[in-house]
């Protein structure tokens, strides 16, 4: 039985487990989703959007769909993966199950809790009905698969006029309780008018066993709200991640998604922005630093539908050894979206001969009074700059690291949480194999 058949045949048992009230509208959403997944199946390289990323080797694994053996995980097992020098709310999931013991949730001024309770409580029915699976719907077969098996994840609901006082950290751990596990976290974030929230998300495998995570996040940003969402991807070589994040923005809102890909066997990021009003700003920032045989695929979409909006996209990649990068950045400016400012930049450095990058900027502009630009570069380290630095006493390895640091610096500088910036800087230094005595 292949993975698809296994998933489809497991669906009924999953539905009947009774984690939902029977009258929940989510039942029919899930049933629809599994039907769509059954029809579409997993994407293959024949699909234009998956031309450079093959899931085939991954799908050969005999994944467990749920963890049956609970492993006890204490704070000391996970603290290194938290940004723990700041106050924050935390949502910790262990093998797909929420750990209330390790987490720090709230219902005071805003809801920072779990999706399973939101799906079941009458109090949240309106929110679930209005938002859940409204942008992820019919998007791709992997998000359909996630929808069908929606069980747990972060539920963040910020009422209007609320500045969330501390960042929210969402951490998904796998413990190796199963030899091979498929995790499908589902996050729903709703940010009310004039509100502001910062979210940090991370997936981490604590064992050497195989983990595949198929994660879906829907983010709704209301009028004048500000959302900063940071994704730290620095997982083990036996871990793969397919992340689909959908952002829907109302007028004058600002949404920024930062993606830091430093590790993992295969990482696919689908990041999509949809505009539902004027004067919206969307920011997409990313750095990928890969080595070994790692593979990262960044697929982004900004869909400009209304006038006077802007989007700023900046993705940088540093590829060593035999690593592979993919950048596919699509910007659509619809006919009504006059006075759009859309900027896209993608710069890549290939350090070794075996590394490769497939870069594809895609601009579809149907309006005539717009400012759109895109730039894409693929290069190597500047040898003359290396010699210059060496001649000043800086050894080649440090000189290389300094150049690469400088290369990624403008992306790192966009991080608004200082402690997170320090952490990312350290992760970059670690990945480049140096210890620099200062922060850039």
């Amino acid at each position: 039985m292949d993975l698809k058949e296994k998933l489809v045949s497991s669906f009924l048992a999953f539905e009947n487990k009774g984690i939902l009230d029977l009258d929940s509208s989510v039942h029919s959403i899930r049933t629809k989703a599994i039907q769509n997944f059954e029809k579409e199946g997993f994407p293959s390289k024949k699909d234009e959007e998956w031309k450079y990323t093959s899931l085939k080797p991954l799908l050969k694994h005999d994944f467990s769909l749920f963890s049956t053996n609970e492993k006890s995980i204490g704070f000391k097992n996970i603290e290194n993966y938290l940004i723990n020098d700041i106050e924050s709310y935390t949502l910790i999931f262990i093998d797909g199950v929420f750990s209330s013991f390790l987490s720090d949730t709230t219902h005071d001024d805003c809801d920072v809790c779990v999706l399973s309770s939101a799906l079941n409580r009458p109090k949240y029915k309106m929110i679930v009905d209005n938002y859940f699976n409204t942008i992820a719907k019919n998007n791709n077969s992997l998000s359909e698969l996630n929808t069908a098996f929606t069980k747990e994840g972060a539920f963040i609901n910020i009422p209007k006029n609320t500045i969330v006082p501390k960042p929210i950290q969402i951490l998904n751990f796998s413990t190796g309780s199963e030899k091979e596990i498929l995790l499908q976290p589902r996050n729903l974030v709703v940010v009310g008018e004039n509100s502001h929230v910062q979210i940090i998300e991370r997936h981490q495998n604590l064992s050497k066993n195989t983990t595949l995570t198929n994660s879906v996040t829907e983010i709704f940003v209301h009028k004048r709200a500000i959302v900063d969402y940071y994704k730290i991807q620095n997982d083990t070589e036996n871990s793969s991640l397919i992340d689909s994040t959908f952002v829907s923005q109302k007028q004058q809102s600002v949404a920024s998604v930062h993606t830091y890909s430093f590790g993992g066997k295969l990482t696919r990021n689908n990041l999509e922005f949809y505009h539902e009003g004027e004067h919206i700003t969307s920011n997409l920032n990313g750095i990928s630093i890969l080595n070994g045989k790692q593979h990262v695929d960044n697929h982004t979409l900004v869909n400009h539908k209304f006038p006077n909006c802007e989007s700023h996209e900046l993705y940088k990649g540093i590829y060593a050894d035999k690593s592979v990068g993919v950048f596919n950045g699509k910007v659509i400016v619809q006919q009504e979206a006059q006075k759009t400012n859309a900027f896209q930049q993608n710069n890549n450095i290939l350090i070794d001969d075996g590394a490769s990058i497939n870069a594809k900027p895609q601009l579809e502009i149907f309006a005539d009074d717009v400012k759109c630009s895109h730039g894409c570069t693929i290069g190597q380290l500047d040898e003359s700059a290396l010699f210059y630095m060496q001649s000043r006493g800086i050894p080649k390895k440090e000189a290389k690291a300094l150049l690469l640091f400088a290369f990624g610096n403008d992306v790192v500088n966009k991080i608004k949480i200082p402690q997170l910036k320090t952490r990312i800087t350290k992760l970059i230094a670690k990945n480049l194999g140096v210890n620099l005595g200062f922060e850039l």
Partner: protein
């Protein structure tokens, strides 16, 4: 200090240096002059250890030590400094961070402790003042968008910070107006002592009015064809190079 014997060097199998002999003692200033393509910049790059150049014959010794197998940074740690004709732009690294890294890596290479941050800052300010460098300039990205004069001034600023034993100034006067030239030359003169030496590589005699050499050598077609005192520079300025060919 520097002893070059029968130095031959190639780039892409083309011989550029064809047997250079040069002795520089501590406390001396030497100037190398010569027409375009004579091998002046190659000589400076070979001394600094640029990998593209292949030394096929001869040797370069610094204070009795053979430089042949040393990487550029190791040569720097031993006290070689090359002021570039075209300093490289490094976006994202500030002048201050660059010089801090250079100094601490050099000290590490010399087996010394890191320079205390507070004193480093003091030293940076002191040397910046010496070269009339604006403080704001120190927090800009290295050489990015600098004018020709600013780049050269920044090179000498780094030299002042690193206090090399042997400073090679490769066409430091090119792109400088007369005021900037004076500032740069003044900086070099202040750094000169009986313990270090300076090798000035230039096309024109102009810089030598301000950095007065003890010896002048004429490089032509990969060889030193004539050596003399500072008056040789004036003679070259008047007669050109043709009479030496």
């Amino acid at each position: 200090m520097l002893s070059i014997k029968n130095l031959h060097a190639n780039i892409n199998d083309k011989e550029i240096l064809k047997g250079i002999n040069l002795e520089i003692k501590a406390g001396e200033v030497h100037a190398i002059m010569g027409p375009n393509g004579s091998g002046k910049s190659t000589l400076s790059a070979v001394i600094a250890g640029k990998e593209e150049y292949e030394v096929t014959e001869g040797s370069v010794f610094l204070n009795g030590e053979d430089l042949a197998d040393l990487a550029p940074e190791e040569r720097a740690h031993k006290g070689v400094f090359l002021s570039f004709q075209y300093p490289v732009e490094i976006p994202g690294v500030t002048v201050t961070n660059f010089i801090k890294t250079a100094i601490n890596e050099t000290r590490k290479g010399q087996g010394l402790e890191e320079f205390p941050a507070k004193e480093m800052l003091k030293l940076i300010r002191e040397k910046a003042d010496l070269l009339e460098i604006d403080r704001k300039f120190l927090s800009r990205s290295l050489n990015e968008g600098f004018s020709g004069g600013e780049k050269k001034r920044n090179e000498i600023f780094q030299m002042a910070m690193l206090e090399p034993k042997l400073a090679i100034l490769d066409e430091t006067d090119s792109g400088l107006d007369i005021d900037a030239l004076k500032v740069v030359a003044n900086g070099v003169n202040k750094l000169k002592s009986s313990d270090n030496a300076v090798l000035v590589i230039t096309h024109y005699q102009r810089l030598l009015d301000y950095i007065v050499p003890d010896f002048v050598h004429v490089l032509y077609n990969g060889k030193i064809v004539k050596s003399g005192g500072k008056e040789l520079a004036l003679e070259l300025e008047a007669k050109g190079y043709d009479w030496l060919k």
